[in-house]
């Protein structure tokens, strides 16, 4: 007898909050709106914690709770059901936990903004969809959550919809995501065709019975289409362009949706689908290459951005690239591990950046910051923890998760030294741009206006920062690798979900023996991080004149990086403009105005012309009528005579 854990409560609680705030929040005072918004998410978090406490008592995993059939068509059934296993438990904990902290932070951050109730309603709605995505027991319900978080993301990016750029960024995010969703949908159709079901409990066993594909087949197709969906949602090449623009949204939104949770949905989906990916070496290679390229590409752009949030946005893309790299070398646990630690430190980075922006009254350009260390010490110290964590300094959370990925990229049968090299290079770049941000923001002299008085944020904003800072520091200890004397509890915990095909298991075990190599690789990546720190210190603290000179020396290359490689411009010229032009000239003016309107208008016009000709018969002149009558009569008479004559 499996216990009933009422998993449905976890997503539904935030939905209730969203409904209450959305329907009645307008008339409520801000305090009540904030209370409702936070309490329901807090309750979802508490319930998730309770479920986690019961987790070890579960005898049968995955634990599935089905409530009602949703779609029944022939042999195909999709239910409203929830699926609890190690993976969805970790995800639900991260989403509700980080989400709860960010809700608390938002109480302070959004204090002076209009549309307070709207903000909390959207944020709660996002939590509902995200938890649906994470806990769904079939791909179709997961897709509902998938689309729902896209909607919530759109609403929140365009939260300040009076601003043109925010509205445009919202649209861009939605449209780019649609491209990925199209891939996801096709993958679902193929899955139905292949397995006849979308329920995880039926799909995965069915897939597991198939062998690893020697040549690309249907599993590769499914995996690649799923990857296309993940590329859209998780902002990977070539669909990453929406994420930097998404920074138009309020900062807590950037922290929750565009750093900690929603953008990791793609990673979760790939990790969830690991039985499919593990059976297609080609798809895994594609995933690894995409992740690798994205990590490096976004990191280089991040080095030359001046908007504090955009640096973090490119950093997010880059870190997501790491997670895909991990998935691509079949190290799904490492990907989820990094997903978790990244959720901690990246949410913290965004919230701290928000606190900086708050302190400076809306200033986001790092060139106008500087010297903030003494003014906002809490923000400074929490940000420092996060910066060192993401840069991968030893014994902070990012160190363990990043090194796990790099080690797997090196040692996995799907990996290779090239993946590792790109990963380490990216780690160095990550360290550089993060410390650049750190030095520019907190050190040196203030470069803002004289009369600026930065103020520390209220306690309601600082408390989440401190909690996340603690997590960013210690969060990695759940997964200390063997090489460093740990047990790697995290990987062992997730292992039942991430069962790799037997052929891989063996080689993985052999590689794990090379403890010495792993330690050396770790030293190399720490060295890269230290190098990044050194160069950032040299360029942005010690010799402030150098960056100018280097930028001038690099010339065109620097301009290209600062302008994000002109990718947006390229997409605009190659994809958007042809569509706009085609729509305007061919579809609008040609088909719509020409053919459709033309048919109607010409039909009417021709009838009118005929009528105009006929109208002259109705001259109003009595005698002409009489003439017609007479002529008619004469004609009739002539006919009769002719007939009679025959």
């Amino acid at each position: 007898m499996t216990p009933n854990l009422h998993l449905w409560l976890i997503p539904v609680l935030p939905l209730v909050g969203a409904a209450l705030n959305g329907l009645f929040g307008r008339r409520w005072p801000k305090r009540a709106v904030a209370l409702v918004g936070t309490v329901f998410v807090g309750a979802a978090f508490a319930w998730t914690l309770w479920v986690a406490s019961q987790f070890s008592h579960l005898t049968q995993l995955p634990h599935i709770e089905e409530h009602a059939p949703w779609i029944t068509a022939g042999g195909f059934v999709a239910n409203f059901g929830f699926y609890l296993d190690q993976l969805s438990l970790v995800m639900a904990l991260v989403v509700t936990g980080v989400g709860f902290l960010i809700h608390i932070y938002s109480i302070g951050y959004m204090e002076h903004e209009g549309g307070y109730y709207r903000f909390f309603a959207y944020l709660n709605l996002f939590m509902f969809f995200m938890l649906t995505l994470v806990l769904a027991d079939n791909y179709l319900l997961m897709f509902v959550g998938w689309e729902g978080v896209g909607l919530a993301s759109y609403l929140l990016i365009g939260f300040w919809f009076q601003k043109d750029s925010a509205a445009a960024a919202g649209k861009k995010a939605f449209i780019v995501n649609r491209i990925g969703d199209f891939g996801f949908l096709l993958a679902l159709f193929l899955l139905i065709r292949t397995c006849g079901s979308l329920n995880f409990a039926e799909v995965f066993p069915a897939i597991s019975r198939m062998g690893v594909e020697a040549a690309p087949g249907v599993l590769t197709a499914i995996a690649l289409l799923l990857m296309l969906g993940a590329c859209g949602k998780s902002a990977q090449l070539p669909l990453y362009v929406w994420l930097p623009d998404a920074m138009e949204g309020p900062t807590p939104v950037s922290a929750l949706i565009h750093a900690a949770t929603m953008v990791t949905a793609g990673v979760y989906m790939v990790a969830r689908s690991n039985p499919i990916f593990s059976r297609s070496p080609e798809a895994l290679t594609v995933v690894a290459v995409v992740g690798c390229l994205t990590a490096l590409f976004a990191a280089t752009i991040g080095m030359a951005q001046n908007d504090i949030k955009r640096v973090l946005a490119y950093s997010t893309i880059s870190q997501l690239g790491y997670m895909f790299l991990a998935c691509g070398v079949a190290a799904y646990s490492a990907a989820i591990f990094h997903l978790m630690t990244h959720a901690f430190f990246k949410a913290l980075l965004f919230l701290a950046a928000g606190s900086v922006i708050h302190a400076l009254g809306g200033e986001q350009d790092m060139r106008n910051m500087g010297g903030l260390r003494k003014h906002i010490p809490w923000t400074f110290w929490t940000m420092t923890a996060a910066t060192f964590a993401i840069a991968g300094f030893p014994f902070l959370s990012g160190f363990f998760s990043k090194d796990e990925i790099l080690w797997r990229a090196w040692s996995s049968p799907y990996g290779g030294w090239i993946f590792w090299a790109v990963g380490v290079g990216t780690a160095g770049l990550t360290s550089f741009y993060m410390f650049r941000l750190w030095f520019l923001t907190f050190f040196g002299e203030s470069r803002g206006p004289e009369d600026r008085h930065p103020h520390e944020s209220p306690r309601v904003m600082l408390a989440p920062l401190v909690i996340l800072a603690v997590l960013a520091v210690v969060g990695g200890y759940v997964g200390v690798p063997h090489a460093l004397g740990g047990e790697n509890h995290f990987e062992r915990f997730l292992a039942p979900v991430m069962a790799v095909p037997a052929a891989l298991e063996h080689e993985g075990a052999a590689a794990a023996a090379e403890v010495g190599t792993e330690r050396m690789l770790t030293a190399a990546s720490v060295g890269a991080a230290a190098l990044g720190l050194f160069f950032a210190w040299l360029l942005y603290h010690k010799r402030r004149d150098l960056p100018e000179k280097i930028a001038t020396a690099l010339g065109g290359m620097y301009t290209a990086v600062a302008n994000k490689y002109y990718v947006d411009e390229g997409y605009n010229a190659v994809l958007v403009q042809p569509v706009v032009e085609g729509s305007t000239r061919l579809l609008w003016r040609g088909v719509d105005a020409g053919v459709i309107d033309g048919t109607v208008n010409h039909a009417a016009g021709d009838v009118r012309k005929v009528s105009d000709a006929l109208r002259h018969m109705q001259s109003g002149s009595v005698r002409s009528y009489a003439g017609w009558v007479a002529a008619g009569a004469a004609l009739a008479l002539a006919y009769l005579i002719w007939v009679g004559a025959r």
Binding site: G620, S621, V622, R623, G627
Partner: protein, 100 residues
């Protein structure tokens, strides 16, 4: 005995005169008289046929036509007077208020 064709030719001539008058003239009263001429041309052919075949129905039709013509004359003249009162003219070409 006058042959039937004489009557019919006379009737056709009278009818043609009526039609011509109706088409050529502008004065409403003249038009009205032209219509009467056409009706009576037809009447003539009716009675001619009736006499020829020795059938009564032709005569009966003639009475009908005369009754209708009388009623028409009453109504028509009333309309003509009304038109003259409002328009101060009997020229049909000037009675064209409904014309586009």
């Amino acid at each position: 005995m006058v042959p039937l064709s004489y009557y019919l030719v006379l009737s056709a001539i009278l009818f043609g005169l009526g039609v011509t008058g109706f088409l050529v003239k502008r004065n409403i009263i003249t038009l009205f008289m032209s219509i009467e001429l056409m009706l009576n041309a037809v009447n003539l052919s009716f009675v001619a046929f009736a006499a020829h075949w020795g059938a009564l129905s032709g005569h009966v039709y003639v009475f009908f036509v005369m009754v209708v013509a009388a009623a028409e004359a009453a109504v028509g003249l009333a309309i003509i007077i009304a038109v003259f009162r409002t328009r101060q003219t009997l020229n049909v070409d000037r009675v064209n208020l409904l014309k586009l």
